[in-house]
Protein backbone atom coordinates (compact mmCIF):
# COMPACT_ATOMS: atom_id res chain seq x y z
CA UNK A 1 0.00 0.00 0.00
CA UNK A 2 2.82 2.33 0.85
CA UNK A 3 4.75 1.60 -2.33
CA UNK A 4 1.53 2.10 -4.21
CA UNK A 5 1.09 5.51 -2.55
CA UNK A 6 4.63 6.44 -3.56
CA UNK A 7 4.22 5.38 -7.16
CA UNK A 8 0.97 7.26 -7.48
CA UNK A 9 2.45 10.48 -6.10
CA UNK A 10 5.39 10.20 -8.45
CA UNK A 11 2.87 9.96 -11.26
CA UNK A 12 0.97 12.98 -10.08
CA UNK A 13 -1.88 11.04 -8.44
CA UNK A 14 -3.13 10.09 -4.99
CA UNK A 15 -4.80 7.03 -3.53
CA UNK A 16 -8.03 8.88 -2.87
CA UNK A 17 -7.88 10.80 -6.17
CA UNK A 18 -7.46 14.15 -4.48
CA UNK A 19 -5.58 17.01 -6.03
CA UNK A 20 -2.12 17.59 -4.51
CA UNK A 21 -3.32 20.86 -3.04
CA UNK A 22 -6.66 19.58 -1.79
CA UNK A 23 -7.56 18.85 1.82
CA UNK A 24 -9.88 15.98 2.67
CA UNK A 25 -13.39 16.84 3.81
CA UNK A 26 -13.34 18.63 7.17
CA UNK A 27 -16.13 18.25 9.71
CA UNK A 28 -16.03 20.43 12.84
CA UNK A 29 -18.25 20.11 15.89
CA UNK A 30 -18.03 22.68 18.67
CA UNK A 31 -18.69 22.26 22.40
CA UNK A 32 -18.73 18.48 22.24
CA UNK A 33 -17.54 18.18 25.86
CA UNK A 34 -19.92 19.99 28.18
CA UNK A 35 -17.61 19.45 31.17
CA UNK A 36 -14.84 21.39 29.43
CA UNK A 37 -14.60 25.17 29.27
CA UNK A 38 -14.15 24.84 25.52
CA UNK A 39 -13.93 21.98 23.07
CA UNK A 40 -13.90 21.01 19.43
CA UNK A 41 -14.05 17.82 17.43
CA UNK A 42 -12.32 17.83 14.07
CA UNK A 43 -12.72 15.08 11.51
CA UNK A 44 -10.28 15.47 8.65
CA UNK A 45 -11.08 12.65 6.25
CA UNK A 46 -10.99 9.73 8.67
CA UNK A 47 -8.60 11.39 11.09
CA UNK A 48 -10.47 12.31 14.27
CA UNK A 49 -9.27 14.67 16.98
CA UNK A 50 -10.85 16.29 20.02
CA UNK A 51 -9.37 19.33 21.70
CA UNK A 52 -10.69 20.00 25.20
CA UNK A 53 -9.88 23.11 27.19
CA UNK A 54 -9.93 23.03 30.97
CA UNK A 55 -9.28 26.18 32.95
CA UNK A 56 -7.92 26.28 36.45
CA UNK A 57 -6.44 28.71 38.94
CA UNK A 58 -2.73 28.68 39.65
CA UNK A 59 0.40 30.61 40.54
CA UNK A 60 2.06 32.49 37.67
CA UNK A 61 5.60 31.61 36.63
CA UNK A 62 8.12 33.87 38.40
CA UNK A 63 9.36 35.37 35.11
CA UNK A 64 5.83 36.18 33.89
CA UNK A 65 3.97 37.39 37.00
CA UNK A 66 1.43 39.27 34.88
CA UNK A 67 0.37 36.46 32.60
CA UNK A 68 -1.87 33.44 32.78
CA UNK A 69 -0.48 29.97 32.24
CA UNK A 70 -0.79 28.00 29.01
CA UNK A 71 -0.17 24.30 28.77
CA UNK A 72 -0.65 22.07 25.74
CA UNK A 73 -0.69 18.32 26.03
CA UNK A 74 -1.58 15.64 23.55
CA UNK A 75 -2.56 12.04 23.97
CA UNK A 76 -2.03 9.62 21.16
CA UNK A 77 -4.65 7.30 22.65
CA UNK A 78 -4.23 3.65 21.74
CA UNK A 79 -7.78 3.86 20.40
CA UNK A 80 -6.47 5.67 17.41
CA UNK A 81 -3.85 3.38 15.99
CA UNK A 82 -2.32 -0.04 16.44
CA UNK A 83 1.00 1.85 16.53
CA UNK A 84 0.13 3.97 19.58
CA UNK A 85 1.04 2.41 22.89
CA UNK A 86 -0.25 3.04 26.39
CA UNK A 87 2.12 4.93 28.60
CA UNK A 88 3.60 8.40 28.84
CA UNK A 89 3.60 10.47 25.65
CA UNK A 90 6.25 9.42 23.14
CA UNK A 91 8.40 11.77 21.12
CA UNK A 92 5.79 12.23 18.40
CA UNK A 93 3.05 13.19 20.86
CA UNK A 94 5.43 15.56 22.64
CA UNK A 95 6.56 17.13 19.39
CA UNK A 96 2.98 17.66 18.27
CA UNK A 97 2.08 19.29 21.60
CA UNK A 98 5.05 21.57 21.44
CA UNK A 99 4.48 22.68 17.85
CA UNK A 100 0.80 23.41 18.58
CA UNK A 101 1.90 25.23 21.74
CA UNK A 102 4.36 27.42 19.84
CA UNK A 103 1.80 28.22 17.17
CA UNK A 104 -0.56 29.54 19.86
CA UNK A 105 1.96 31.03 22.27
CA UNK A 106 4.28 32.75 19.81
CA UNK A 107 1.43 34.18 17.79
CA UNK A 108 0.05 35.72 21.02
CA UNK A 109 -3.30 34.15 20.21
CA UNK A 110 -4.52 34.42 23.80
CA UNK A 111 -4.18 37.71 25.67
CA UNK A 112 -2.41 36.13 28.59
CA UNK A 113 -2.31 39.45 30.46
CA UNK A 114 -6.10 39.34 30.76
CA UNK A 115 -5.94 36.07 32.70
CA UNK A 116 -4.40 37.60 35.82
CA UNK A 117 -6.52 37.39 38.96
CA UNK A 118 -4.02 38.91 41.40
CA UNK A 119 -0.76 40.04 39.82
CA UNK A 120 2.16 37.84 40.76
CA UNK A 121 -0.01 35.59 42.87
CA UNK A 122 -2.98 34.10 41.15
CA UNK A 123 -3.79 33.63 37.50
CA UNK A 124 -5.99 31.49 35.31
CA UNK A 125 -4.36 28.52 33.68
CA UNK A 126 -5.47 27.23 30.29
CA UNK A 127 -4.91 23.53 29.63
CA UNK A 128 -5.35 22.44 26.05
CA UNK A 129 -5.61 18.67 25.80
CA UNK A 130 -5.53 17.20 22.35
CA UNK A 131 -6.98 13.74 22.10
CA UNK A 132 -6.26 11.70 19.00
CA UNK A 133 -9.16 9.32 18.38
CA UNK A 134 -8.35 7.97 14.94
CA UNK A 135 -5.13 8.46 13.02
CA UNK A 136 -5.47 8.42 9.28
CA UNK A 137 -2.79 10.99 8.60
CA UNK A 138 -2.01 14.69 9.06
CA UNK A 139 -2.57 14.78 12.80
CA UNK A 140 -0.80 18.09 13.31
CA UNK A 141 -3.01 20.16 11.01
CA UNK A 142 -6.14 18.58 12.52
CA UNK A 143 -4.89 19.06 16.06
CA UNK A 144 -3.92 22.70 15.58
CA UNK A 145 -7.29 23.42 14.01
CA UNK A 146 -9.17 21.68 16.83
CA UNK A 147 -7.17 23.61 19.41
CA UNK A 148 -7.95 26.93 17.75
CA UNK A 149 -11.68 26.21 17.41
CA UNK A 150 -11.82 25.04 21.01
CA UNK A 151 -10.07 28.22 22.20
CA UNK A 152 -12.53 30.31 20.24
CA UNK A 153 -15.48 28.80 22.11
CA UNK A 154 -13.81 28.72 25.53
CA UNK A 155 -15.47 30.59 28.37
CA UNK A 156 -13.66 31.79 31.48
CA UNK A 157 -15.28 30.25 34.57
CA UNK A 158 -16.55 32.38 37.43
CA UNK A 159 -14.77 32.52 40.77
CA UNK A 160 -16.47 32.44 44.14
CA UNK A 161 -15.65 34.75 47.04
CA UNK A 162 -12.70 32.55 48.05
CA UNK A 163 -11.27 32.67 44.54
CA UNK A 164 -12.23 29.09 43.67
CA UNK A 165 -13.74 28.15 40.35
CA UNK A 166 -17.51 27.73 40.20
CA UNK A 167 -17.96 24.92 37.69
CA UNK A 168 -20.61 25.51 35.07
CA UNK A 169 -20.77 29.29 35.47
CA UNK A 170 -18.85 31.64 33.22
CA UNK A 171 -18.00 35.30 33.30
CA UNK A 172 -16.74 36.01 29.79
CA UNK A 173 -15.18 34.51 26.71
CA UNK A 174 -11.50 33.64 26.67
CA UNK A 175 -9.70 36.63 25.11
CA UNK A 176 -8.54 35.13 21.80
CA UNK A 177 -7.13 37.74 19.42
CA UNK A 178 -5.41 35.77 16.66
CA UNK A 179 -6.25 32.78 14.53
CA UNK A 180 -3.12 30.80 13.80
CA UNK A 181 -3.60 28.01 11.27
CA UNK A 182 -1.04 25.27 10.74
CA UNK A 183 -0.55 23.70 7.33
CA UNK A 184 1.85 20.87 6.66
CA UNK A 185 3.31 20.61 3.19
CA UNK A 186 4.76 17.26 2.14
CA UNK A 187 7.49 16.59 -0.36
CA UNK A 188 8.40 13.53 -2.40
CA UNK A 189 11.14 14.28 -4.91
CA UNK A 190 9.97 17.52 -6.51
CA UNK A 191 6.31 16.89 -5.78
CA UNK A 192 4.60 18.97 -3.10
CA UNK A 193 1.21 18.12 -1.61
CA UNK A 194 -0.90 18.82 1.44
CA UNK A 195 -3.00 16.83 3.92
CA UNK A 196 -1.21 13.47 3.64
CA UNK A 197 -2.95 10.17 4.22
CA UNK A 198 -1.31 7.76 6.64
CA UNK A 199 -0.01 5.72 3.71
CA UNK A 200 1.48 8.83 2.15
CA UNK A 201 3.16 9.93 5.36
CA UNK A 202 5.02 6.62 5.37
CA UNK A 203 6.79 7.47 2.11
CA UNK A 204 7.37 11.24 2.18
CA UNK A 205 10.89 12.64 1.93
CA UNK A 206 10.12 15.63 4.12
CA UNK A 207 7.31 17.64 5.63
CA UNK A 208 7.29 21.28 6.60
CA UNK A 209 4.58 22.46 8.98
CA UNK A 210 3.99 26.19 9.13
CA UNK A 211 1.63 28.19 11.31
CA UNK A 212 0.34 31.48 9.92
CA UNK A 213 -1.60 34.21 11.66
CA UNK A 214 -4.46 35.95 9.92
CA UNK A 215 -2.01 38.78 9.03
CA UNK A 216 -0.04 36.18 7.02
CA UNK A 217 2.87 36.31 9.44
CA UNK A 218 4.59 33.04 10.20
CA UNK A 219 4.41 32.11 13.88
CA UNK A 220 5.85 28.55 14.00
CA UNK A 221 7.66 26.14 11.73
CA UNK A 222 8.82 22.57 12.10
CA UNK A 223 10.58 20.39 9.56
CA UNK A 224 10.08 16.65 9.70
CA UNK A 225 10.94 13.66 7.55
CA UNK A 226 13.94 11.58 6.60
CA UNK A 227 15.46 13.75 3.89
CA UNK A 228 16.74 17.28 3.56
CA UNK A 229 14.92 20.03 1.64
CA UNK A 230 16.45 22.21 -1.08
CA UNK A 231 16.42 25.94 -0.30
CA UNK A 232 14.31 26.61 -3.39
CA UNK A 233 11.71 24.10 -2.33
CA UNK A 234 11.41 25.71 1.08
CA UNK A 235 10.06 28.91 -0.39
CA UNK A 236 7.52 27.03 -2.48
CA UNK A 237 6.37 25.11 0.57
CA UNK A 238 5.88 28.32 2.50
CA UNK A 239 3.79 29.71 -0.35
CA UNK A 240 1.61 26.62 -0.51
CA UNK A 241 1.07 26.65 3.24
CA UNK A 242 0.12 30.33 3.24
CA UNK A 243 -2.47 29.81 0.55
CA UNK A 244 -4.03 26.79 2.23
CA UNK A 245 -4.02 28.51 5.64
CA UNK A 246 -6.42 31.14 4.33
CA UNK A 247 -8.80 28.41 3.19
CA UNK A 248 -8.70 26.55 6.52
CA UNK A 249 -9.10 29.71 8.57
CA UNK A 250 -12.58 30.15 7.17
CA UNK A 251 -13.59 27.06 9.11
CA UNK A 252 -12.52 28.56 12.45
CA UNK A 253 -15.25 31.00 13.27
Amino acid sequence: MENFALELIQNGKRIDKRDFMQFRNIEIKENVIGKAEGSAYVKLGNTQVIAGIKMGVGTPFPDTPNQGILSVNSEFTPLASAEFESGPPGENAIELSRVVDRGIRESKTIEMEKLVITAGEKVYSVFIDIYILDNQGNLLDAAALAALVALLNTRVPKLDADGNIVRGEYERKLPVVHKPITVSVCKIGDKLFVDPLLEEEAVIDAKLSIAFREDDKICAMQKQGIKGIEFDALEKMVDVALEKSKELRKLAK
Binding site: I33, G34, K35, A36, S39, N46, Q48, I50, G52, I53, K54, G56, N73, E75, T77, P78, L79, A80, S81, A82, S86, P88, P89, F127, D129, Y131, L133, D134, N135, Q136, R167, L198
Partner: protein, 240 residues
Protein backbone atom coordinates in the same frame (compact mmCIF):
# COMPACT_ATOMS: atom_id res chain seq x y z
CA UNK B 1 -20.77 7.84 48.55
CA UNK B 2 -23.05 8.61 51.39
CA UNK B 3 -21.00 11.65 52.23
CA UNK B 4 -23.91 14.01 51.93
CA UNK B 5 -26.88 11.66 51.73
CA UNK B 6 -28.96 14.45 53.24
CA UNK B 7 -29.02 16.09 49.79
CA UNK B 8 -32.45 15.82 48.18
CA UNK B 9 -31.99 13.74 45.07
CA UNK B 10 -35.57 12.60 44.64
CA UNK B 11 -38.48 15.00 44.81
CA UNK B 12 -42.06 13.97 44.13
CA UNK B 13 -40.90 10.54 42.99
CA UNK B 14 -38.63 12.00 40.32
CA UNK B 15 -34.88 12.31 40.21
CA UNK B 16 -33.32 15.72 39.63
CA UNK B 17 -33.02 15.02 35.89
CA UNK B 18 -36.73 14.10 35.82
CA UNK B 19 -36.15 10.37 35.58
CA UNK B 20 -38.18 7.72 37.35
CA UNK B 21 -36.16 5.63 39.79
CA UNK B 22 -35.90 2.67 37.43
CA UNK B 23 -35.30 4.68 34.28
CA UNK B 24 -31.97 4.98 32.49
CA UNK B 25 -30.73 8.13 30.87
CA UNK B 26 -30.86 8.36 27.08
CA UNK B 27 -28.56 5.69 25.67
CA UNK B 28 -26.79 6.07 22.32
CA UNK B 29 -24.66 3.48 20.55
CA UNK B 30 -22.52 3.50 17.46
CA UNK B 31 -20.10 0.94 16.03
CA UNK B 32 -17.27 1.22 13.51
CA UNK B 33 -16.54 4.82 14.40
CA UNK B 34 -12.74 4.35 14.39
CA UNK B 35 -11.43 3.11 11.08
CA UNK B 36 -7.86 2.54 12.32
CA UNK B 37 -8.99 -0.17 14.73
CA UNK B 38 -10.12 -3.73 14.12
CA UNK B 39 -13.32 -2.93 15.96
CA UNK B 40 -14.77 0.12 17.67
CA UNK B 41 -17.81 1.56 19.35
CA UNK B 42 -19.13 4.68 21.06
CA UNK B 43 -21.68 4.41 23.84
CA UNK B 44 -23.22 7.22 25.84
CA UNK B 45 -25.50 7.16 28.86
CA UNK B 46 -26.71 10.74 29.11
CA UNK B 47 -23.60 12.88 29.45
CA UNK B 48 -21.27 9.96 30.05
CA UNK B 49 -19.51 9.14 26.80
CA UNK B 50 -17.14 6.20 26.31
CA UNK B 51 -15.20 5.40 23.16
CA UNK B 52 -13.78 1.95 22.69
CA UNK B 53 -11.56 0.29 20.15
CA UNK B 54 -9.96 -3.11 19.74
CA UNK B 55 -6.60 -3.86 18.15
CA UNK B 56 -5.84 -7.48 17.40
CA UNK B 57 -5.64 -10.37 17.58
CA UNK B 58 -1.95 -9.46 17.22
CA UNK B 59 1.35 -10.93 18.33
CA UNK B 60 2.21 -10.29 21.94
CA UNK B 61 5.58 -8.80 22.95
CA UNK B 62 7.70 -9.47 24.90
CA UNK B 63 7.34 -13.13 23.93
CA UNK B 64 7.71 -14.53 27.43
CA UNK B 65 4.26 -13.12 28.21
CA UNK B 66 2.64 -15.23 25.49
CA UNK B 67 0.36 -18.09 26.45
CA UNK B 68 1.02 -21.16 24.33
CA UNK B 69 -2.55 -22.48 24.49
CA UNK B 70 -4.67 -19.38 24.09
CA UNK B 71 -4.78 -15.74 23.20
CA UNK B 72 -5.16 -13.21 25.98
CA UNK B 73 -7.30 -10.12 26.45
CA UNK B 74 -5.74 -6.92 27.73
CA UNK B 75 -7.83 -3.89 28.67
CA UNK B 76 -7.03 -0.28 29.39
CA UNK B 77 -9.68 2.05 30.81
CA UNK B 78 -8.74 5.71 30.83
CA UNK B 79 -10.38 9.08 31.41
CA UNK B 80 -9.58 12.10 29.26
CA UNK B 81 -8.11 15.10 31.12
CA UNK B 82 -11.10 17.22 30.07
CA UNK B 83 -13.74 14.63 30.96
CA UNK B 84 -14.19 15.88 34.53
CA UNK B 85 -14.67 19.16 36.39
CA UNK B 86 -11.08 19.64 37.55
CA UNK B 87 -8.61 18.58 34.86
CA UNK B 88 -7.37 15.05 35.48
CA UNK B 89 -3.67 14.72 34.83
CA UNK B 90 -2.98 12.12 32.17
CA UNK B 91 -1.81 8.62 32.94
CA UNK B 92 -3.10 5.68 34.96
CA UNK B 93 -4.02 6.01 38.62
CA UNK B 94 -5.06 3.34 41.12
CA UNK B 95 -8.72 3.73 40.24
CA UNK B 96 -8.13 3.23 36.52
CA UNK B 97 -5.86 0.22 37.14
CA UNK B 98 -8.59 -1.48 39.16
CA UNK B 99 -11.30 -0.61 36.68
CA UNK B 100 -9.17 -1.86 33.78
CA UNK B 101 -8.88 -5.18 35.58
CA UNK B 102 -12.57 -5.58 36.40
CA UNK B 103 -13.57 -4.63 32.86
CA UNK B 104 -11.21 -7.31 31.56
CA UNK B 105 -12.72 -9.85 33.94
CA UNK B 106 -16.21 -8.76 32.89
CA UNK B 107 -15.44 -9.47 29.23
CA UNK B 108 -13.21 -12.54 29.46
CA UNK B 109 -16.02 -15.02 30.17
CA UNK B 110 -17.72 -13.96 26.93
CA UNK B 111 -14.88 -14.34 24.45
CA UNK B 112 -12.90 -17.39 23.45
CA UNK B 113 -9.38 -17.03 22.21
CA UNK B 114 -8.40 -20.71 22.20
CA UNK B 115 -7.91 -20.55 18.46
CA UNK B 116 -5.46 -17.69 18.84
CA UNK B 117 -2.48 -18.98 20.82
CA UNK B 118 0.34 -16.52 21.58
CA UNK B 119 -1.62 -13.44 20.58
CA UNK B 120 -3.21 -10.57 22.42
CA UNK B 121 -6.49 -8.81 21.84
CA UNK B 122 -6.14 -5.26 23.16
CA UNK B 123 -9.26 -3.42 24.18
CA UNK B 124 -9.23 0.28 25.00
CA UNK B 125 -11.89 2.34 26.72
CA UNK B 126 -11.57 6.11 26.74
CA UNK B 127 -14.09 8.08 28.76
CA UNK B 128 -14.25 11.47 27.08
CA UNK B 129 -16.99 12.81 29.33
CA UNK B 130 -17.72 11.48 32.81
CA UNK B 131 -21.10 11.86 34.48
CA UNK B 132 -21.33 8.69 36.55
CA UNK B 133 -21.46 5.00 35.54
CA UNK B 134 -18.35 5.29 33.39
CA UNK B 135 -17.16 1.73 33.88
CA UNK B 136 -20.45 0.12 32.84
CA UNK B 137 -20.72 2.47 29.86
CA UNK B 138 -17.19 1.39 28.95
CA UNK B 139 -18.09 -2.30 29.22
CA UNK B 140 -21.04 -1.86 26.88
CA UNK B 141 -18.78 -0.07 24.43
CA UNK B 142 -15.95 -2.58 24.61
CA UNK B 143 -18.36 -5.47 24.20
CA UNK B 144 -19.59 -3.90 20.95
CA UNK B 145 -16.05 -3.13 19.84
CA UNK B 146 -14.99 -6.76 20.39
CA UNK B 147 -17.99 -8.01 18.47
CA UNK B 148 -17.39 -5.59 15.62
CA UNK B 149 -13.75 -6.72 15.51
CA UNK B 150 -14.95 -10.26 14.84
CA UNK B 151 -13.56 -11.67 18.07
CA UNK B 152 -15.36 -14.98 18.74
CA UNK B 153 -17.92 -14.39 21.49
CA UNK B 154 -20.30 -16.72 23.31
CA UNK B 155 -22.49 -13.84 24.26
CA UNK B 156 -22.38 -10.06 24.40
CA UNK B 157 -21.68 -8.44 27.75
CA UNK B 158 -24.13 -5.82 28.94
CA UNK B 159 -23.69 -3.61 31.97
CA UNK B 160 -25.45 -1.01 34.03
CA UNK B 161 -25.27 0.60 37.44
CA UNK B 162 -27.90 0.42 40.13
CA UNK B 163 -27.95 1.91 43.60
CA UNK B 164 -29.77 3.62 46.42
CA UNK B 165 -30.34 7.33 46.93
CA UNK B 166 -32.56 8.93 49.56
CA UNK B 167 -33.68 5.45 50.50
CA UNK B 168 -34.90 4.64 46.99
CA UNK B 169 -33.48 1.95 44.74
CA UNK B 170 -32.57 3.36 41.34
CA UNK B 171 -31.06 2.50 37.98
CA UNK B 172 -28.20 4.20 36.08
CA UNK B 173 -26.64 6.66 38.54
CA UNK B 174 -25.43 9.95 37.13
CA UNK B 175 -22.44 11.77 38.60
CA UNK B 176 -24.30 13.73 41.25
CA UNK B 177 -26.27 10.67 42.33
CA UNK B 178 -23.10 8.59 42.48
CA UNK B 179 -21.35 11.14 44.68
CA UNK B 180 -24.26 11.29 47.08
CA UNK B 181 -25.58 7.73 46.97
CA UNK B 182 -26.08 5.48 49.94
CA UNK B 183 -24.84 2.66 47.78
CA UNK B 184 -23.89 2.04 44.18
CA UNK B 185 -23.51 -1.27 42.44
CA UNK B 186 -21.93 -1.97 39.06
CA UNK B 187 -23.21 -5.07 37.28
CA UNK B 188 -22.29 -6.75 34.01
CA UNK B 189 -24.25 -9.65 32.61
CA UNK B 190 -23.97 -12.11 29.74
CA UNK B 191 -27.64 -11.66 28.85
CA UNK B 192 -28.24 -14.86 26.91
CA UNK B 193 -26.69 -17.16 29.48
CA UNK B 194 -27.76 -15.01 32.43
CA UNK B 195 -24.36 -15.00 34.09
CA UNK B 196 -23.03 -12.12 36.16
CA UNK B 197 -19.46 -11.23 35.11
CA UNK B 198 -19.02 -7.98 37.03
CA UNK B 199 -20.33 -7.19 40.47
CA UNK B 200 -18.91 -4.39 42.55
CA UNK B 201 -20.70 -2.73 45.41
CA UNK B 202 -20.01 0.31 47.55
CA UNK B 203 -21.93 1.84 50.43
CA UNK B 204 -24.34 0.15 52.78
CA UNK B 205 -27.20 -2.19 51.80
CA UNK B 206 -29.26 -4.95 53.33
CA UNK B 207 -29.19 -8.29 51.58
CA UNK B 208 -32.79 -7.78 50.48
CA UNK B 209 -31.96 -4.44 48.89
CA UNK B 210 -29.03 -6.01 47.09
CA UNK B 211 -31.22 -8.77 45.69
CA UNK B 212 -33.77 -6.26 44.51
CA UNK B 213 -31.06 -4.18 42.85
CA UNK B 214 -29.68 -7.23 41.06
CA UNK B 215 -33.15 -7.82 39.70
CA UNK B 216 -33.37 -4.26 38.47
CA UNK B 217 -29.95 -4.63 36.86
CA UNK B 218 -31.02 -7.81 35.11
CA UNK B 219 -34.09 -6.15 33.65
CA UNK B 220 -32.21 -3.04 32.58
CA UNK B 221 -29.50 -5.09 30.92
CA UNK B 222 -32.10 -6.90 28.83
CA UNK B 223 -33.10 -3.57 27.27
CA UNK B 224 -29.53 -2.46 26.77
CA UNK B 225 -28.70 -5.81 25.22
CA UNK B 226 -31.49 -5.31 22.72
CA UNK B 227 -29.94 -1.98 21.69
CA UNK B 228 -26.51 -3.59 21.36
CA UNK B 229 -27.87 -6.29 19.10
CA UNK B 230 -29.67 -3.76 16.95
CA UNK B 231 -26.67 -1.56 16.43
CA UNK B 232 -24.58 -4.59 15.44
CA UNK B 233 -27.29 -5.87 13.08
CA UNK B 234 -27.52 -2.47 11.43
CA UNK B 235 -23.79 -2.45 10.95
CA UNK B 236 -23.78 -5.87 9.29
CA UNK B 237 -26.69 -4.86 7.14
CA UNK B 238 -24.77 -1.80 6.09
CA UNK B 239 -21.85 -3.95 5.13
CA UNK B 240 -23.75 -6.34 2.90
Amino acid sequence: MGKKSDIELIVGGLRKDKRLPEQTREIKMKVGNIVSANGSAEVSFGNTIALSSVHGPRELFPRHLQESQTGILRVRYNMAPFSVDDRKSPGPDRRSVEISKVIRLALEPAIFLDDYPKVTVDGFVEVIQADGSTRVTGINALSLALASAGIPMKDLVTACSVGKINGTLIVDLNGEEDNNSESDVAVAIMPTSNLVTLLQMDGVLTKEELMHLLDLAKKTCKDIHEMQRNVLLEKYKGEE
